[in-house]
């Protein structure tokens, strides 16, 4: 399996992970009235998960070899 295919498969896996993270039922777990540093936990979760997903994508495409 060459580098292109590996990278493609990793990115597909990340896309599936994103579908899982931003969907029922994971999303429903965070739809609660509590807060993190004053921020509603759902909002905090979505933005953190989003940032983490982007970081992973950056890691996959920028990694050498």
């Amino acid at each position: 399996m060459n580098e292109f295919e590996t990278r493609g498969q990793r990115l597909i896996a990340l896309c599936l992970l994103g579908f899982l993270l931003f969907n029922y039922p994971i999303l429903a777990l965070f739809n609660a009235p509590s807060t993190v540093f004053g921020i509603p936990v759902l909002y905090a979760y979505i933005f953190c998960a989003w940032a983490a997903l982007i970081a992973l994508m950056a890691w996959v495409v920028e990694k050498r070899g």
């Binding site: 493609g8 597909i12 029922y24 999303l27 429903a28 004053g38 982007i54 970081a55 994508m57 495409v61």
Partner: protein, 919 residues
């Protein structure tokens, strides 16, 4: 300070700056130093996705339902992860076939069908025009609101006279702007470098403007994110928005469908296809874009919620439209500069979208709608005109003006009917209809032209029925009863609850039914018919793009005759004589010909080349018609195309196999060569060995023979001499025996026929025993022998007799090379990591560096010929090293000439084993 003229002046200054940037980038491109080949510019240009709809509308939607706007940006983030697989393929296909637009792409895939291209164009125009009018509305209402400063008044809902309408002026200025960038000249590759640079700059401006107002609201008006939300929690009517999701069928379903919808939008909005595919210069730009573009979307969304909550808390309900919070909050806080910056940000978001969208749509209208019709109308005699470039540009310019005026018309007629967000989503749903035909088309060869057309029309029909019809009804153009009772009173057909599907929002409802219709019709019709020859060949070119690029591309499917001058004049008509000459030059040069003196052969390859060039200017479908009009083609039957495809894939398989075989052969050859070298070396060594051995044998033999002859010839020798001679003979015989023994030993070691008796050996004991056994030798030569042995050393696994042999060899060597009387030899045993090491150090004359390298080789001895004859067979060290290596150890020498030598060897210790036994 915010007078009308300042706002107008700033806006024009901003547009002027855009012109300057675009002009600069175009000049650079002409000079061959493109600015847009940077992946950063590419990523920023993708951010044309964020329009005025994002800039103003996200806050508006967030203010009513919390996080409902987020899937529109999360969807593209997920989709772009798949770009590595999907977009790379689309890019490769588009480069090879010189695709000029989305309509061209779909038409090309399904046999260069002009009908399909036209259908895609019509759907795109109908779907996108409301979206353009939305941008006009955003700019004009932003302008009107800002003009009222310091009052905050929503723009009048009633129509102003057309001539005084800001939106009309905005539309006209943008039309001029787009014409200037988009149709400056006809480019065979449809690259608009200036436009892309300007768009990238606009993306930067809108991001900065939005971040500025976000930071102002969050950190200046409020005290950080936590503060905004905790203050919002105190408002009773805002509390439900803090946990905005509820109910599986409602919120979550619309969340999922909105995600899918925007995944399609990021690929198939005409402007996204334009910047991502048509304007792309290098596939490698994807690398950075895959994470930079999602990062951009994250950044532009971080402050949406604080601004939305801030606006809700700032203004009493119902006074200020939530879509304008971004602008009205800075105005209410008397931040004039910030308000102006926000207005410019909104302007950049709107203009960016309008410019790219109209360029993309005008290319589609020109290449896939107008040209195929004009070319078919024989009465126009287009074939006889020498130069059609002016006409092409004219059609595009006309299309740009027309599209913007349509946008304005829609704005006048229906502009106030809906909030910003719903119009944008209706457009998204329209372009999502392209997804099945385009995406399946690049992975599935079975899709046919009829299937794609039926799917597209079915999906578009459902879209019109479930989204457009209700919009018209609500605007009062159709009876509202249509929505409530259904057409002809049939409740099952109510556009918003089709077949009784209830409880979903309008977009989700429309998406579910239109996708079922679209995909269903596409698959069913494709499978029920069979593709034509042209469709089969295009399907193969698209689906197997990564394989066919090596096997000759599209040229191999053509048979016929053509004339070079006719093809040249055809190209010149659409590209201009200069560009046509240049293209022919390039083609001829690649084949070592000098155009125009030497004309290339008008073979399949050449006709394909001309058709692709032409496709870059007028689209694949029109190019096909034009080329077919000047060459005599033999139609290929479907079976022939299939046979060619089979043949081609066979050839690919064979060539792959051949490549593998030749690699294997090469490997085998290399191995053989290495073996041969090794054999030659061995042969040389054997010769050396034989000559050295015979030399070594001859020396003692000669002396034995000489002394025997003396004894034989002189029976009267004195007893003392006789005894001395006999002593020499005995000694030489012993030396001979030893030598033969060693030669045999060495050869056994080398051939691996030696028997080994492995046991646990205590090196300390070995040293003590050997030192005791050889002490006589040392005493004779008056050499001092010292030992440094630790209390305990780990045992090693070895053959005891062989190790003794090694140590004896080292000691007898050492004693030989030191000076009698002053000589000193030291033996030490020590632990060296996982090894046990033995050092035998002497204070003799040392060994030169050169000798150190060869001393372990066979029959090599230290010392030069001048100092007398070598003392030994030259096999001892060689044998010793072999023995040590046999037990996993290492043997080496360290020496400074004149300062003694130290021979060392190591053997791996078996400490654990020793401990286990002790316990």
């Amino acid at each position: 300070m915010l007078q009308g003229w300042i706002i107008v002046f700033t806006s024009f200054a901003y547009l002027g700056l855009l012109f300057a940037i675009a002009y600069y980038a175009d000049t650079r491109a002409d000079a061959g130093r493109s600015v847009i080949s940077s992946p950063y510019i590419y990523s920023l240009s993708l951010a044309v996705y964020a329009t005025a709809w994002t800039f103003y509308g996200s806050v508006g939607r967030a203010a009513s339902d919390g996080i409902g706007f987020l899937p529109i940006y999360i969807g593209p983030t997920l989709m772009i992860a798949l770009w590595w697989v999907v977009m790379r393929k689309i890019l490769r296909i588009s480069k090879q076939n010189r695709i000029t637009s989305l309509a061209d792409f779909i038409a090309s895939r399904y046999g260069k069908s002009a009908l399909l291209g036209g259908a895609v164009t019509v759907i795109a125009v109908i779907g996108i025009v409301p979206y353009i009018s939305l941008q006009l509305k955003a700019v004009s209402s932003g302008f009107l609101i800002l003009m009222q400063y310091p009052e905050i008044v929503m723009p009048a809902k009633f129509a102003v006279p057309v001539a005084q309408d800001t939106a009309l002026w905005v539309a006209l200025i943008l039309a001029l702007f787009t014409i200037a960038f988009g149709t400056r000249h006809l480019d065979a590759a449809e690259h608009h470098e200036g436009m892309v640079a300007a768009i990238a700059f606009e993306s930067l401006v809108k991001l900065l403007a939005f971040l500025a107002v976000g930071i102002y609201v969050t950190f200046v008006i409020y005290d950080g994110f936590g503060d905004v939300f905790s203050q919002a929690a105190a408002h009773r009517d805002l509390v439900p928005m803090l946990t905005p999701l509820s109910g599986l069928s409602g919120n979550y379903a619309s969340w999922v469908w909105l995600t899918i919808l925007s995944m399609a939008a990021i690929m198939f909005l005409p402007r996204q296809f334009q910047v991502a595919v048509i304007e792309n210069k290098d596939e490698r730009q994807l690398n950075k874009a895959i994470w930079l573009f999602p990062l951009y979307m994250l950044a532009i969304n971080v402050f949406v919620l604080p601004i939305a909550f801030g606006g809700r808390m700032h203004f009493p309900a119902g006074i200020v439209d939530a879509d304008t919070y971004v602008l009205t909050i800075p105005m209410a806080e008397k931040q004039e500069l910030l308000a102006l910056l926000v207005f410019i940000g909104g302007l950049s978001a709107a203009t960016g979208m309008v410019i790219v969208e109209t360029i993309a749509l005008s290319t589609m209208v020109c290449n896939d709608l107008v040209m195929p019709v004009l070319l078919r109308l024989r009465s126009l005699r287009l074939n006889e005109r020498p130069d059609l470039t002016g006409m092409l540009l004219g059609i595009r310019r006309g299309a740009i003006v027309l599209i913007l005026l349509l946008g304005y018309l829609y704005f006048r007629l229906a502009g106030e009917a809906y909030a910003l967000v719903s119009i944008g989503l209706i457009s998204f749903a329209a372009v999502a209809q392209f997804a099945p035909a385009a995406l399946c088309g690049i992975f599935w060869k079975g899709g046919t032209r009829r299937g794609a057309l039926c799917g597209l029309l079915a999906g578009f029909g459902v879209w019109g029925y479930t989204l457009l019809l209700p919009a018209f009804a609500r605007s009062g153009w159709l009876p509202i009863g249509l929505l409530e009772q259904g057409p002809w009173g049939i409740e099952l057909l109510r556009p918003l609850e089709l077949f009784g599907l209830k409880g979903l929002d309008q977009i989700t409802h429309a998406m579910i039914w239109s996708m079922i219709a679209n995909v269903g019709a596409y698959v069913a019709v494709s499978l029920s018919g069979s593709p034509s020859a042209e469709e089969t060949r295009q399907a193969s070119l698209f689906v197997d793009v990564f394989r066919t690029s090596r096997a000759g591309g599209g040229a191999r499917f053509w048979r016929g005759t053509a004339s070079v001058p006719e093809l040249h004049s055809l190209l010149a008509r659409f590209l201009g004589a200069e560009a046509a000459d240049e293209a022919f030059h390039g083609y001829a040069r690649a084949r070592g010909l000098r155009w125009p003196e030497e004309a290339p052969v008008a073979d399949a390859d050449f006709v394909h080349f001309v058709e692709t060039q032409l496709a870059g200017a007028i689209g694949a479908a029109s190019a096909r018609i034009m080329v077919a009009s000047v060459v005599k083609e033999e139609a290929l039957t479907l079976d022939e195309v299939r046979a060619m495809l089979d043949e081609a894939s066979q050839i690919i398989v064979y060539s792959h196999k051949l490549e593998q075989k030749s690699q294997e052969l090469e490997r085998a050859t290399n191995e053989l060569r290495a073996a041969n070298e090794r054999l030659t070396e061995l042969d040389r060594l054997k010769d050396d060995f034989v000559s050295t051995v015979s030399h070594e044998l001859r020396t003692p033999l000669t002396s034995i023979r000489a002394f025997s002859e003396i004894l034989h010839d002189h029976p009267d020798l004195p007893e003392a001499d006789r005894a001395r001679f006999l002593g020499i003979i005995t000694k030489e015989t012993e030396r001979l025996t030893r030598l033969i023994h060693q030669v045999l030993d060495a050869s056994r070691l080398e051939s691996g026929r030696t028997e080994w008796h492995e046991s646990l050996v205590d090196l300390r004991e070995v040293i003590e025993d050997t030192v005791a056994a050889t002490s006589q030798l040392f005493r004779e030569r008056e050499v001092r022998l010292e030992t440094r042995l630790p209390e305990r050393v780990p045992k090693v696994v070895a053959d005891l007799d062989r190790i003794v042999q090694v140590v004896v060899n080292l000691l007898s060597n050492a004693v030989k090379f030191v000076e009698s009387g002053r000589g000193r030899v030291e033996v030490a045993v020590l632990e060296d990591g996982e090894f046990v090491r033995v050092d035998v150090r002497d204070n003799g004359s040392g060994i030169s560096l050169e000798d150190q390298r060869i001393i372990f080789d066979k029959f090599r001895q230290a010392g030069d010929a001048l100092t007398g004859k070598p003392q030994g067979s030259g096999l001892g060290l060689h044998i010793s090293r072999r023995i040590i290596e046999r037990f996993g150890g290492r043997m080496w020498v360290e020496s400074q000439p004149g300062d003694g030598a130290c021979f060392s060897f190591t053997l791996p210790s078996v400490r654990e084993l020793a401990f286990a036994r002790a316990a």
